[in-house]
């Protein structure tokens, strides 16, 4: 690299000084481009090998029947046709959508509420509480699963003991098909709320106090302040939080794998879990790739719809 860098200072000046350099391929321009691409090379090559090529391969594999060992057999769009009629797959998709429809509003509302609350108190206590709410975020999904398997133990768990005080009978939570998905949702939200409230709080802090003071002089109440000043100012961050949580809820996997393994009775067999099972348990690699693409499309449509709604809703 040494030779390339020689006389660099002179070179930059000349290319800034003469417009002519833009139109002719000079040695210096080539060197400049070469240097930029050398700096980018490790990451570009990495992303190409580990993301772009795999996407292409996934598309290719999804058109084949393949168990990973015997040679691939080209079957065209048959995998896609099969999945259209795969009731178990659509069950998984339905569960995932139900999960997203509950999870996204829950995380959004609670994080915003906490951020507004934190913003209304000042001083060191604000920073302290912010830290406390954030702590669960640093805990890995696996440890989180351990904690909540313990807390939600059907017979002797903490939560059941707590409910017992109020005379509520013991629940089986993760063992109950009606409760398991909601439990996973609640547990995941518990880790993420602190994270998103930091994002909201950062934006809230940037809203000029003058806006509120002016509105108060005009006699606006707290709700009106929130509706007319705070909420419109959150436009950008709203879109970010809603889209990111939606994408995240379509990808939920680790918690499910560890806590319920898709059960009970398929109640938490979310889409990524179904994809994983097809790939690594049933060794239907082609089929699972097709499923992953369809999930990606569903997720993409959902995100786009969300973008439309949030943009449109704020404008009026």
């Amino acid at each position: 690299m040494g030779g390339m860098i020689n006389n660099r200072g002179e070179m930059l000046m000349s290319s800034q000084g003469f417009a002519i350099g833009k139109f002719f391929i000079t040695k210096k321009r080539v060197e400049k481009n070469l240097f930029a691409y050398l700096m980018l090379a490790p990451d570009i090559i990495g992303l190409a090998i580990f993301i772009f090529i795999p996407v292409g391969v996934a598309l290719y594999v999804s058109l084949h029947e393949w168990n990973g060992i015997s040679p691939m057999k080209f079957i065209g769009l048959k995998n896609y046709a099969t999945l259209m009629l795969d009731s178990q797959w659509w069950h998984s998709v339905r569960i995932t959508i139900v999960y997203a429809l509950m999870f996204v509003p829950m995380v959004y509302c609670l994080s915003l509420l906490i951020a507004v609350f934190l913003n209304s108190i000042t001083g060191k206590i604000q920073g302290f509480l912010r830290t406390v709410y954030f702590v669960p975020f640093t805990v890995s999904t696996i440890v989180l699963s351990i904690i909540w398997l313990f807390m939600l133990d059907p017979r002797r768990g903490f939560v059941n003991e707590f409910l017992h005080i109020f005379g509520i009978p013991a629940q089986s939570f993760l063992g109950n098909p009606k409760q398991a998905l909601f439990c996973i949702e609640f547990i995941t939200a518990w880790t993420l709320i602190g994270y998103y409230s930091i994002i909201f709080l950062a934006v809230l802090k940037d809203i000029p106090v003058i806006y509120y003071e002016a509105a108060k002089l005009d006699g606006a109440n707290a709700f009106q302040l929130f509706k007319s000043i705070t909420f419109p100012m959150l436009k950008e961050v709203n879109v970010f939080v809603l889209v990111v949580t939606t994408i995240a809820s379509f990808q939920v996997f680790d918690q499910v794998k560890v806590m319920t393994n898709g059960g009970p009775a398929g109640a938490t067999n979310v889409a990524v879990f179904y994809i994983y099972t097809n790939a690594f348990d049933y060794l239907k690699l082609g089929y699972s790739s097709a499923l992953a693409f369809v999930l990606f499309v569903i997720m993409f449509v959902f995100s786009m719809m969300l973008l439309k709604i949030t943009r449109g809703g704020v404008r009026e």
Partner: protein, 279 residues
Amino acid sequence: MNSEGKLIKNKNGQILYCVKILGGIILGCLFLIPIYMLVVSSIKPTGEVFDLRFIPKTISLNGYSLILKQKFLRYFLNSLFISTTVTIVALVFHSMAGYALARLNFVGRNVVFILILSTLMIPFSVILVPLFILVKNFGWLNTFKGVIIPAIPHAYGIFLFRQFFLTIPKELEEAATLDGCSPFGIFMRIFLPLSKPIIITLATAFFIANWNNYMWPMIVNQSQNKWVLQVALANYIGRTGTPWDAIMAGGVITIIPIVILFFVLQRYIVEGIKMSGIK
């Protein structure tokens, strides 16, 4: 408003403030009690884990000695090695790429930038199977390479470095150029020393993300010697016969490095979260 009115308002304000703080603390307990229960259960004797006392009747380190006998130290070192390597290499690569995208004029800059950003849209489930095939063909199954190398390229780090480098004043660069400094020299001697905050922010983010990663290390490394903490722990949960206090002790060991990192570098972590959310 007369002074009396103001006084009453202040007093009401103070009561309201106290109620708010109290509410905030109760809420904080909801966030912390589960984690506290993890820690406290890990030092209870096996038979008393489910007594749910906040302060253990008897303290026993049985869980820790059980878990350490299960090669847990080995898994700890594996996790440490993988997370540290990914973090360091990723910082080097992403700072270089971010510098090129922010500060160098080259043909195709916008296209490259958009392509890099577009990778953030690809869900991991789509590339799971091909990535597995790729790593298998490279002969990287059951190696650290197989976990480490695919984890390094990531658009998030490149993007944040770029954003940071864009904020550095042009004058510094121009002065150095006049002094005969090469672009690589400018990167090494001016940009890198100035980027301490973003480096710390990203280092903690990468370290935590890789330390906590479960799915990919589980798929790549089936052989027990190469397990990371998360995979080992997940296996204990699934296996009957591992006592709860040992699992809890494993959990505590797993979160200790992260908790230390978090409290030492909290300021930078919060900065990073804000950057990713707003810009």
